[in-house]
């Protein structure tokens, strides 16, 4: 660029970039306009239909797009994943149940399954339990909105963001060096001269990772449960008090039964999030040091090691594990709606 007369690549580049951007914008606007146009035409045509065809046509017009998207986005990939799980690593040879055999007999994958189970049981229970306790404590407090907002705040942070924060909390340095991790520094302040390298201490590290999930999900559990507690009619609690129930008994025999369905919904929702928890493990340990979980192993088999057979088999296992939870969750949600 210093020599006048030579072509100026930067201008060409910038021009190219603007040109590309303009074309992309034009394309997206065109696509949106075209989509709206087609919708208008379809609605108009369906609106004109009379007689015997009118009702089925209306159903098709309203249901069609949703069904189509569901097919493209969910059903077809599901079937294809199921099919791929029966093929070899690059999808060229039929191997039957070999991938499932691998998943249940390989030592490292067994560890993954055990970890996933631990996550599934412990993280949702702790998050919901803590949420319930906090909801009760905060319920009659002055300025409860402030406390609730503070506790709910981590919910606004992505799991990756939360993981990075906790990675710093768990950061460890050898003896003689100044600690930069909060947890290690606390341990040192309490007189523990050489705290361990937290992320390497098995099986503690898995629970330390769960703490991130609990930190994020407790706020959600608290807000939903607090709303349910407030929805309990005052007459009922008053009647119970008149009957002599108080404190713990009031909680176990009145509050908990009244908000049972909400507790179950919160529990299952957190469970489903937990089963899919891949960001925390991926960000904090990359699945090393015995902390791997199913979702992350599935990703690394499919997209790091390019073994679609193994990856798909793990995806199917994960799907089958989530399925009953989702079904139960929906049933409970319906029940709750029925009550209201």
């Amino acid at each position: 660029m210093s020599v006048p007369g030579t072509p100026s690549p930067a201008v060409a580049l910038a021009g190219g970039a603007w040109g590309d951007a303009a074309i992309k914008f034009a394309n997206s606007f065109g696509a949106i306009a075209g989509f709206l146009g087609i919708l208008l035409v379809v609605f108009f045509a369906a609106g004109r239909a009379r007689g015997r065809l009118a009702r089925p046509l209306a159903v098709a017009v309203f249901l069609g797009p949703a069904v189509l998207l569901l097919l493209v986005g969910l059903v077809v990939p599901l079937l294809r994943t199921g099919y791929l799980s029966l093929l070899n690593d690059d999808g060229t040879r039929f191997v039957g149940g070999e991938n499932y055999g691998w998943a249940f007999t390989t030592e490292s994958v067994q560890e993954v399954l055990v970890n996933t189970l631990l996550w599934l049981v412990i993280a949702p229970l702790v998050a919901t339990g803590l949420g319930l306790v906090l909801a009760l404590l905060v319920d009659r407090m002055r300025g409860q909105a402030v406390y609730k907002s503070l506790i709910f705040m981590p919910m606004a942070i992505s799991l990756v963001g939360a993981s990075i924060i906790f990675k710093f909390v768990y950061e460890s340095r050898g003896p003689g060096q100044s600690q930069i991790g909060l947890l290690s520094q606390l341990a040192v302040a309490l007189g523990w001269d050489d705290p361990p390298n937290w992320m390497l201490s098995q099986p503690l590290n898995t629970f330390l990772l769960m703490a991130v999930m609990v930190w994020v999900q407790t706020g959600f559990a608290m807000v939903v449960l607090s709303a349910a507690i407030k929805a309990i009619p005052d007459e009922i609690t008053e009647a119970a008090r008149l009957d002599g129930a108080g404190g713990v008994r009031l909680f176990w025999y009145v509050t908990v039964p009244m908000i049972r369905t909400t507790v179950v919904v919160v529990l299952t929702t957190v469970m489903i999030t937990t089963l899919k928890a891949f960001d925390i493990v991926r960000t904090m340990t990359g699945g090393n040091f015995g902390t791997q979980v199913l979702a992350n192993e599935m990703y690394s088999q499919s997209f790091v090691q390019f073994n679609t057979g193994h990856g798909s088999a793990l995806a199917v296992i994960l799907f089958l594990a989530v399925l009953p939870l989702v079904a139960y969750n929906i049933v409970q949600l319906r029940k709750e709606r029925g009550v209201r």
């Binding site: 660029m1 072509p7 060409a12 580049l13 340095r173 060096q177 992320m199 390497l200 990359g286 790091v304």
Partner: protein, 461 residues
């Protein structure tokens, strides 16, 4: 696994720098843009280029065509690529439409399988190249590209080949056999840069006994790719102990990980990077290597808590911006000596290969140009941080001391150059079990026997 783990960090660090630079560039070019003659914008067919464009005559005749390229190199580094061929594009009228993606490695197979292959892909792993060739969509290069290959040492041709057929010409090369150190600290303590492995070990011992900083620091954490720096350590030692033949057999699994040659090499690595008295300067014990990110690993060298770090040439991007890098600056690097003095100058490295998925004449013209020394020189001139092992590139073009050091080692005809082994092994091992097992070896103190056996068990049948 070379560019993938480094790409995000490098680009995010440099993005901050790039904005003002881009503004300056725009201002400059706005000032002199009028003078650029559109010498190549004429119609197609028998087109003659003159003046500055004359050197592009062999590639002329395809004006108005577009060639697509897909790679993992992101802006701002990809901007340097685009600048390096801007003049070519201007003169010949061939537009190279470049697209970079973080998900290159997983997206490319999807696109190729879906019949939506780009004209070119820049593939950094021979393993991925082999996978693409298997899909039979890769097109063999034209005669000129094959001829241009003579400027590279013959071993490079084998890395661009699959089953003996040459497919992809290398574009860049990087050097992994480097040890980063601080010339200032060395000078103050009276240490000499070691020339042999024995010297290196003696020096490490001396540093450890002197108190103060530990001789070595290291970090192998890298998200999902955690463990890759440890594969490099093992590869350096295997290559430096047994030479190229055993190394090649190891890559091909004729020599297994549990072979006593490889377990002996692992022992050498353990005596070096798992020696409690020698590591991990500035971070903690041996295990802390597993939780230290490779980006952070070298930072204690600046404070003297650690004196040496074995890491590739691209580690240069990790030093703070005001660090003086050079033979008498804050930081410099030396060539890691061979474990076995009988092995001549072992160089472990990586590279990127230009793979074509189309054979249109304009695609071949671009392929010919990008495999030529002319393009390599143009890219080296554009910005630092890019090294070619092309013998036709004038060494004086390298303005950066690390680039120069790498280029000297990579083009040395007497050197034993080998490509990163984990990039060539099947993905299930090279970017899977080997990472995991070596990480467990460092983090959990797992035995060498178990580590080797686990990796062998994961090798696809």
């Amino acid at each position: 696994m070379t560019p993938n783990p480094t790409a995000p960090s490098k680009s995010s660090r440099r993005r901050l720098v790039a904005a003002p630079a881009l503004l300056a560039a725009l201002a400059l070019t706005a000032a002199c843009s009028n003078s650029s003659g559109g010498s190549g914008d004429g119609g197609g067919g028998a087109q003659t280029l003159s003046g500055d464009c004359a050197k592009y005559q062999p590639y002329a005749g395809h004006s108005g065509t577009t060639v697509t390229m897909f790679a993992s190199i992101l802006s701002p580094e990809s901007d340097n690529l685009e600048k390096s061929w801007a003049e070519f594009g201007k003169c010949t009228g061939i537009k190279i439409s470049y697209e970079g993606s973080n998900d290159f490695e997983s997206q490319l197979p999807v696109r190729v399988a879906g019949g939506n292959a780009p004209d070119f892909a820049i593939i950094p792993q021979p393993g991925l190249l082999a996978q693409m060739v298997k899909s039979s969509k890769v097109v063999k290069p034209p005669a000129q590209t094959v001829a241009n290959q003579d400027k590279w040492s013959p071993v490079w041709k084998t890395y661009g080949s699959v089953n003996g057929t040459f497919y992809a010409a290398p574009m860049s090369a990087n050097m992994k056999s480097l040890v980063w150190y601080s010339p200032k600290t060395f000078k103050a303590a009276g240490y000499e840069v070691p020339k042999t492995w024995a010297d290196l070990m003696a020096l490490s011992d001396r540093i450890a006994k002197a108190g103060g900083g530990k001789p070595w620091c290291g970090g192998i954490a890298s998200g999902t790719a955690t463990g890759w720096p440890a594969t490099d350590w093992l590869e350096e030692v295997v290559l430096g102990t047994y030479g190229g033949d055993v190394y090649d057999q190891w890559v091909g699994h004729q020599v297994k990980f549990s072979d006593e040659k490889i377990t002996a090499a692992m022992k050498t690595v353990a005596d070096w990077m798992q020696n409690p008295a020698w590591v991990n300067g500035g971070y903690g014990d041996v295990k802390s290597i597993a939780t230290t990110t490779f980006q952070d690993a070298g930072a204690p060298i600046l404070t003297g808590k650690c004196l040496m770090l074995q890491q590739a040439s691209f580690y240069k991007a990790q030093w703070p911006k005001d660090t003086k890098i050079g033979p008498d600056g804050d930081i410099f690097a030396f060539h890691l000596p061979a474990v076995n003095p009988a092995i001549a100058s072992p160089v472990e490295g990586g590279g990127e290969f230009l793979t074509a998925f189309a054979s249109r004449p304009e695609v071949q013209a671009v392929q010919n140009y990008l495999s030529s020394s002319d393009w390599a020189s143009s890219r080296v001139k554009t910005a630092t941080g890019w090294v070619s092992a092309n013998q036709g590139v004038d060494k004086s073009l390298y303005t950066d001391p690390i680039d120069r050091l790498s280029a000297d080692a990579l083009t040395d005809p007497g050197a034993t150059f080998r490509f990163d082994a984990s990039d060539m092994m099947p993905a299930a091992v090279g970017s899977g079990q080997e990472w995991k097992s070596l990480t467990a070896w460092f983090a959990e103190g797992q035995s060498i026997q178990k580590t080797a056996a686990d990796i062998d068990a994961a090798w696809p049948q």
